[in-house]
Symmetry: C2
């Protein structure tokens, strides 16, 4: 060990490190960014798993590989990956590429730190605070608390955990067995993370009382009231309502004012799952969809969805100013949160979370916001609404497109009715045959790599498509393409 050389050839040689990264960066720019967002390229390169395994040669061996081989591997990984920033990727609640956000992500990865202490994340500790403050202001709060979580599902869990802790601080030490049976309420259109969260948090999925939604997918406050009475009558203690602003499939916004009234009456914690719809708060034109959100106790909001900042970026926002987050999750580990530090340890955020190491998720959003300004982001949100509207109007002009409902958000749900089924609505196997159309079209589009749209059965409805208009690079040309392409792919059905 007397030598003073580091272990790795690349580490010895900053020039080699730089050369590698430069080469990789060129590949990323050409293959992932330029081609990946070019309408003239494929959105995906479908391969069967077995073939793809062969092509990628995934096995990890003892022997290392040459730089040339590694660069080839980078190319292959990108080539066979789905291009989520492609203008024909309509498949998920995220799509598109914001270059400033990507710049923020690259800086984040190169700095590689953890959000737990000011000591090792001074910039990001202050930045996270500032970004959360801004999001809270949009919710309508001039004070409060919050933290970025690894996804909306976990943000939702935080809300549930905080609500029960606030009511029964005992449960932190003594657990749920020391508590009466609890009940929480959400609509049948809610995201599945509410049930997953209830199971994970030890409440059990039975503790989730499902409230009816109207034909547009909005929670019915009267049924909420009814469910609360029912739960009480059954001997359980209602403690939380999770309303949804922007449901996953239909894009519905629950009536928050009416729900807040119910919560107030029964003294229930109001959580708003605005993972998807939260970004609408940026738009003066459309933010009325979330009227009442300022009455919530907590809000989950994922900028990684509509704001295109990249996975993962999910804010949990709280109205609380009593340090509930730290009291609920803190454990005062002495090796990380020493009390005799030379700076104000209130800055250390690590004890607000149930994680230890925590990825920096604020920089990409901050940098994008700085570049676009609130105005730029507002224009983007308005533009997505307008393009979704354009899609709907164009559909109405064409045969074979049937809306599930008029959208109020950027989820456009519809059936493509192929020629052989048009006018056959009355035939007894219509619904069964219709439900086969979307999977078939999906297979065709994916295998051709021309487009990606998700479909699902939902409630009483046979498989329908859900187009999500979220990519800020979209134009009417892309929307026209989508319609033409569905017609082309489905003409023989």
């Amino acid at each position: 060990m007397g030598d003073s050389n580091p272990l790795l050839s690349l580490d010895e040689d900053p020039v080699a490190v730089e050369a590698l990264l430069r080469n990789v960066f060129e590949i990323v720019v050409d293959e992932a960014i330029q081609k990946g967002s070019s309408a003239s390229e494929k959105v995906c390169q479908w391969k069967e798993p077995e073939e793809l395994k062969q092509l990628l040669d995934l096995e990890l061996r003892s022997q290392g590989e040459s730089q040339e081989q590694i660069l080839e591997r980078c190319r292959a990984v990108i080539h066979y990956s789905v291009k989520t920033s492609h203008p024909r990727f309509f498949n998920q609640l995220f799509s598109g590429l914001d270059p400033h956000a990507l710049a923020g992500r690259i800086i984040t990865e190169s700095l590689n730190t953890s959000q737990y202490t000011y000591e090792i994340a001074p910039v990001f500790t202050l930045m996270e605070e500032e970004v959360l403050k801004k999001l809270r202001v949009l919710v309508g709060w001039s004070s409060g608390d919050g933290v970025f979580c690894p996804g909306g599902s976990i943000s939702n869990m935080y809300a549930v955990n905080l609500a029960r802790y606030q009511r029964y601080p005992d449960c932190k030490e003594r657990g749920l067995r020391a508590l009466p049976p609890l009940a929480l309420f959400t609509s049948k259109e809610c995201h599945y993370s509410i049930k997953k969260g209830a199971a994970f948090l030890g409440l059990g999925t039975d503790s989730v009382r499902v409230v009816k939604a109207d034909e547009r997918g909005k929670m019915i406050p009267e049924d909420l009231e009814r469910q609360i009475s029912l739960a009480k009558a059954e001997g359980t203690v209602p403690f939380l309502v999770s309303a949804t602003s922007g449901t996953t499939v239909l894009g519905a916004f629950d009536p928050l004012e009416a729900i807040a009234d119910v919560c107030q009456r029964h003294r229930l914690w109001l959580h708003v799952d605005a993972a998807w719809g939260g970004s609408v708060l940026l738009s003066q034109t459309h933010r009325h969809l979330l009227d009442g959100i300022q009455r919530a106790d907590s809000v989950a909001w994922n900028p990684h969805k509509l704001l295109t900042v990249g996975l993962q970026c999910s804010a949990l926002l709280l109205r609380d100013t009593s340090n509930l987050l730290k009291r609920c999750h803190g454990s005062q580990a002495s090796y990380l949160f020493q009390q005799d530090k030379f700076y104000d340890v209130a800055l250390d955020m690590g004890d607000k979370v149930v994680q230890c190491g925590r990825h920096v998720d604020c920089l990409k959003l901050w940098l994008m916001w700085k570049a676009q300004g609130g105005q730029g982001l507002e224009r983007r949100v308005n533009r997505a609404f307008a393009l979704a509207r354009y899609l709907v109007e164009e559909m109405k002009k064409r045969e074979g497109f049937e809306l599930v409902m008029e959208p109020e958000f950027v989820n456009v749900c519809f059936w493509f009715v192929p020629p052989s089924l048009r006018g056959k609505q009355e035939s007894p196997d219509y619904s069964k045959r219709l439900s086969k159309v979307a999977p078939m079209l999906k297979e065709r589009m994916v295998k051709e790599g021309s487009m990606m749209i998700s479909y699902q059965p939902h409630g009483p409805w046979a498989n329908f498509f859900r187009v999500v208009v979220a990519n800020p690079a979209l134009t009417c040309v892309d929307i026209d393409f989508l319609l033409n392409e569905l017609e082309r792919l489905g003409q023989d059905l």
Copy 2:
């Protein structure tokens, strides 16, 4: 909306996107990577929070900013951030920069997808499987299951949730109230995430029974046996033991064989928290420290620590082959996991987790492994052990360094005894005065930006330093610097 122009000036113009990213990349290479890992630069630029806020101008406004301003901001963010890849960053259980892992991270960010379905993450679905398989083989399992979680804390929670579900599948629906009171066991040296997890999962921190550790920080199996009897006598049902391979502060390895014997006798789920020490499995020379790990039911292992792949990368590995993970966490959301897909939906991993969107954490590890080979990684682990040993031996040659104990891993815990305290061990206020030394030295090193080492009080011990030898770029020169620098900073104390 008749126009066919996208919203954003940058989006209109692939050339501008490319120019921005190129400029940012240059800044990253110069400021974060080259300077960030150069011993002649500072490891941190300490600023008081108020001053730093001013310098960064964090506020988010309506108006966007010019590209020039944005690039200036990128420079500032990097400048004031702590350089965790710097050879004088000894502060956490991660340090250093692997260029291939960084390349993998940049590709991951540019592709921006989620791990939930094969449909949108074909490459990463197969790759995650392959990487997990490789990690399982190192544990000693030829089959099994697993998933990457956002950090070791959450991996640990998964283990606890799986263990209780396996024993009481009912709890998923009915919650903990339907179960007898449960007890889990871990040593007093365990990571704080075990208690945080117990609270979050609704078990309560009281359900965590703390087992004694010996003077080296290893769990005492006889005391485990005793605690189990005690818990049973108190009417609780033991269900899990969490042993630690590589404790956070002392770097201790619990005796897994003896603990596995106890678990077998009492039919308890054995979880091994190898978040820190798991990477030692790569070394033929040192992997004996984890002997018995193949008898575990679950293992948490964070390649983002010793293997330097970057936050976050934490694998939860399972011996189970009965699809426990999916049964425990699944909710079969029809909008994501359609059963009539045209490919084998068993490939979709989304229902193995309690998250919905899930960041891709496998590529960076896979790419680094391909480049280094298992051999290269093994050399790195061995090298870290050897350098830690070098540090210990050099300390012994100098006055004023007192080891807390001989390390068996790469955590080197010691006191720096300044000149005024040497030979005063017997004085009544020795310990009190000694405990002031580390915080004072820490303040000095951080304000000068010369080095970062964490300190903590621990058990009976006054504040001591914990140097973590993890950065693969370290050489003996850096270790010598560390010792000299402590002497220099502490010479007047």
